[in-house]
């Protein structure tokens, strides 16, 4: 290009109308280089500026060396699903430089580390080389930390070019390093130096800017796994056994972090009221959790797909022997090891029917971080009320990424231990009680708990056929009746599980049904459709068994698009199974590629199915 052409190009870029608080930033780095701190700092400082923001870590299954991306969406209207378009790209990884350069939309901005000596072949975008090496050299940092600190350069440069408030950056760093002055100052120094360097050396050529808002007031920022763990602690959790697996690990680790803070025993402060045990595998993790649940502890385990597979046999036993236990499944992409660091909703049918023979498990489906907290305590109540396994299906996106969310609300009901008989209760029910005898007509029987010293309290628990009084039985009538009672119990569960969230659209023919982390994308797609004149209803399923309002919702629309992140349309399948008479109305939008769902995908999928 000639000098005149460059000048014209710059003119075009600067004449673009400013785009404020509505764009995406993606950072491409090398895994293990410490970029997570930088990315979270950007995310949190934007949040502190009052701008609705979300951040998603798109990372490989690797400790160090492979490419990784972090994508931040800034949106003044509060749409926080992942977007397919990248307005701003920060390229810190030579290996993905060319790919990252291509990904920027025309008119976008491209920041890169100037030690990458690859050609910048695009002239339709703003290009910002960053003197990373030089800036790192200028600060007094131990050599071992240089690579980590290098990522703070783009925090400073980006802040200067798009207008992130440095005070907010400081606050974010202070939070990240838990107020430790040394790392905060060291990181902030390089951010400020880089900011100043950008001011002196780079001219703004792109239209993207952030401006303070007040849209994040009353919200917090947290991830679903932390929320789930804290929720369980408020649910009176006694026992958790677990085995490390991405993306569920941080749930158990959050228990270890927050239990000592939150569960100081008022009577014996030096003793513990809880147990967290790292098992040798998931077979043992579920076995321990079921043993604990049987012995009257509020008990849970947390895992992901492969671990869930290993838990199937014990879950089947707990279903039939009627032992309370909570299983959190933070879903990732299967089959097999699949994409272990990517998100999906592919465990739904497996989780629901997990076990051999006939089994139907109660499932909870949180769709936001504050719901992870809520279901954290509710699941423990439900498991004890129903004397059954309760599975909570979250996913990697919800579990591991930071979300802007409502603050956690203190439980609004007392802890529910279900139908438990202690010594004095046994006395009252003498002659009437047997472990598996139905008394209340709801399929739920009364249980005793080990440690109950009444000579009539004990019973023998087994996975084999058993009579009302828990004795071994192969009697066909006994078997049949026992299994039918479990079916009645599943019906009873409808009364206790969280109902769906429904947004009606009177007069419209189209409804969406979805669950879990896709909520943001679906809400945004619905608004995009509404702008085109297509009104849609929306029901977000929060539990199985399905309640009657789900049936009513399906009935009130002509066409229901069951939208989910898996290949086979698993929620769709279950709805067809439970509402066969309505199957004709149900259509499936199912897609999985490891990335969180986008509104554009939902919009396009519906448009193609509806032919508009």
């Amino acid at each position: 290009m000639s000098a005149v052409q460059i000048q014209e190009q710059e003119q075009v870029l600067t004449e673009q109308k400013a785009v404020v608080n509505d764009f995406s930033i993606t950072v491409g780095t090398v895994n293990g280089s410490g970029s997570q701190t930088s990315n979270l700092t950007i995310l949190r400082s934007l949040f502190r500026m009052g701008i609705p923001v979300s951040g998603k870590n798109l990372f490989p299954s690797n400790i160090q060396g492979l490419p990784t991306w972090y994508t931040i969406r800034v949106n003044k209207d509060g749409y926080l699903a992942r977007r397919e378009e990248q307005e701003i790209m920060v390229a810190m990884n030579q290996a993905t430089f060319t790919q990252d350069l291509k990904a920027v939309i025309s008119g976008g901005a491209f920041f890169y580390s100037d030690d990458i000596k690859l050609p910048v072949i695009r002239d339709d975008i703003a290009v910002y080389p960053m003197a990373v090496k030089q800036l790192v050299r200028e600060v007094n940092v131990p050599a071992a930390l240089r690579d980590y600190i290098a990522n703070m350069v783009y925090v400073g440069v980006l802040s200067q070019i798009i207008g992130i408030d440095l005070d907010k950056i400081f606050q974010a760093l202070n939070f990240h390093f838990k107020g430790k002055t040394k790392p905060v100052d060291m990181n902030f120094e390089i951010v400020r130096n880089s900011f100043d360097w950008a001011k002196a050396n780079l001219a703004k050529q792109d239209p993207y800017l952030v401006e303070p808002m007040k849209a994040t007031e009353g919200f917090i920022m947290a991830d679903g796994n932390t929320a789930a763990a804290i929720g369980a602690i408020y649910g009176g959790l006694h026992f958790a056994a677990w085995y490390p697996i991405t993306p569920a690990t941080s749930l158990a680790e959050s228990l270890l972090e927050y239990l000592p803070i939150l569960r100081k025993d008022p009577l014996q402060p030096s003793r513990n009221t809880y147990v967290v045990l790292q098992a040798e595998d998931e077979l043992a993790a579920i076995g321990m959790s079921i043993g604990a649940g049987w012995a009257g502890l509020r008990s849970m385990t947390s895992t992901s797909g492969p671990g869930l597979s290993l838990m199937a046999e014990y879950a089947g036993l707990a279903y039939y022997a009627e032992v309370p236990v909570v299983i959190w499944d933070i879903q990732r992409v299967g089959p097999s090891t699949g994409l272990p660091t990517r998100t999906a909703q592919g465990d739904l049918t497996f989780a629901h029917f997990m076990g051999h023979g006939d089994s139907q498990h109660v499932i909870l489906l949180p769709g936001s971080v504050d719901e992870c907290f809520e279901f954290g305590w509710k699941a423990l109540d439900l498991a004890e009320r129903l004397q059954a396994p309760v599975l909570v299906l979250s996913d990697l996106d919800l579990g591991m990424n930071q979300w802007m969310t409502n603050p956690f609300k203190y439980p609004d009901t007392s802890i529910d231990r279900g139908k438990v008989l202690w010594e004095s209760d046994i006395e009252k029910m003498r002659g009437e009680w047997a472990r598996y005898r139905e008394i209340d007509g709801d399929g739920i029987t009364y249980r005793t708990i080990p440690g109950n010293r009444d000579p009539n309290a004990a019973y023998f628990t087994r996975g084999t056929g058993h009579s009302e009084d828990a004795r071994y039985s192969e009697d066909p009538v006994v078997w049949h009746e026992g299994l039918e009672r479990l079916k009645r119990k599943f019906e009873t569960a409808k009364k206790y599980v969280p109902g769906p969230v429904i947004e009606k659209s009177d007069g419209s023919e189209i409804g969406f049904i979805a669950f879990g982390s896709t909520d943001a994308a679906i809400q945004e797609a619905r608004d995009m459709l509404a702008e085109k004149g297509v009104q849609t209803g929306y029901l977000r399923v929060r539990a199985i068994p399905f309640s009657a309002d789900i049936e009513e919702f399906i009935q009130s629309y002509e066409r229901i698009y069951v939208t989910e992140m898996n290949r086979d349309g698993q929620l769709f399948q279950l709805l067809v199974v439970y509402f066969p008479q309505l199957a004709g109305k149900l259509k499936s939008i199912a897609y999985t590629d490891g990335l969180p769902l986008t509104a554009k995908f939902v919009y396009d999928a519906l448009a193609s199915k509806e032919d508009f």
Partner: protein, 347 residues
């Protein structure tokens, strides 16, 4: 009828229970099965020790052995879990109420084939559990397949010759850092009973590898799991007697003829010297004697190893004096004022 004749008819122990109070349902195992003999010794041991049945939790996996908890201690809670996965079940359950004691029955298939992983891990955690392995070298319920403890070269009807080396359960327990390892023989009921008593007094995992012949599938004279072989080859390390806490030692022996092992609860195990003066607290010696036993074709029985100093799993977790499963809501749900602090801890 005088009072005396009544008490003679219904003899009770110190806690006021008759032996029948320790019984279970009638066994459905084969006549003559070693497991039935072990069940009887569990009943006798608990009766004689004045155990309150409600203070015991029974556990088992799957197999003939694992059926047996139904045949003793009907007044105890019990859980018959999954094949090879009893240890995890017991681990979780025993956290429910730390005043309870665990008594588990497993088999050689259940513990060292499908369950080897969980067997090894419950040892290193030192769960306070009496862990009886009823070891007969075969799978009975599925009709006589070789198990992992079957002798190499053993012929079984319909199953040919076993080509693999056997697993030695006592050895596995020892190298797995079990804090109490014993071996016994269902054909030596007195020793079985005394070992069960000692195991119940141990403050950690107590593994009892009991050769318990399968009269239907593996009881030929040349099988090391048969009655005949056991009677012929049993070499007891010592004559073992259990003396409850606060009871005087009444056993008659000359000085230097016996060792006393004081257990965690103050009870004593008196080991009367037989051929050698064996010291069960010496781990290296335990390994050596197991090797020697294998080389000499002995069925070595007795208390092979004990370590009384290893903390048990519940000790490690430093739990409240009130059993966890009896804690009221006020002790397990953080108070409402903490929620604001939690939200402030998020960003």
């Amino acid at each position: 009828m005088s009072e005396q004749t009544v008490s003679q008819r219904v003899q009770v122990n110190v806690v006021g229970l008759a032996k029948t109070d320790y019984r279970g349902n009638p066994s459905t195992l084969c006549q003559g099965c070693g497991h039935n003999s072990i069940s009887s010794q569990i009943i006798s041991a608990c009766y004689e020790l004045d155990v309150i049945p409600e203070n015991i939790l029974k556990f088992s996996g799957i197999g003939c052995s694992s059926k047996s908890p139904t045949y003793f201690l009907n007044r105890s809670f019990g859980f018959n879990g999954l094949h090879g996965r009893m240890p995890s079940l017991a681990t979780g359950a025993l956290f429910g109420d730390h005043t309870l004691r665990g008594l588990a029955v497993s088999g050689d298939g259940d513990s060292v084939s499908i369950g080897m992983g969980q067997f090894k891990h419950v040892l290193r955690r030192n769960l306070r559990l009496v862990y009886i392995v009823e070891n007969n070298g075969v799978y009975g319920l599925t009709k006589g397949q070789f198990s992992a403890t079957a002798d190499i070269g053993l012929n079984l009807k319909g199953h040919g010759t076993n080509p693999y080396m056997p697993i030695d359960i006592a050895w596995e327990a020892l190298v797995g850092n079990a804090s109490f390892v014993a071996r016994s023989f269902a054909g030596d009921p007195k020793q079985v009973k005394e070992l069960i008593k000692a195991a119940l007094s141990h403050n950690g995992i107590a593994v009892l590898d009991i050769i318990s012949p399968c009269v239907t599938f593996n009881n030929t004279d040349e099988s090391t799991h048969s009655y005949a072989w056991g009677k012929e080859h049993e070499v007891a390390l010592h004559e073992l007697s259990y003396v409850p806490p606060a009871e005087e030692i009444m056993i008659d022996y000359e000085p230097g003829e016996a060792r006393e092992v004081t257990m965690h609860d103050g009870s004593k195990v008196v080991l009367k010297k037989l051929e050698v003066n064996y010291d069960p607290t010496d781990r290296a010696e335990a390994m050596r004697i197991l090797e020697e036993a294998n080389a000499r074709q002995w069925l070595l029985t007795g208390l092979i190893f004990i370590n009384r100093d290893q903390p048990n799993l519940l000790d490690i977790y430093n739990l409240t004096s009130t059993p966890l499963n009896r804690l009221p809501e006020s002790r397990i749900r953080p108070p409402s004022e903490t929620i604001q602090r939690v939200n402030e801890m998020m960003f």
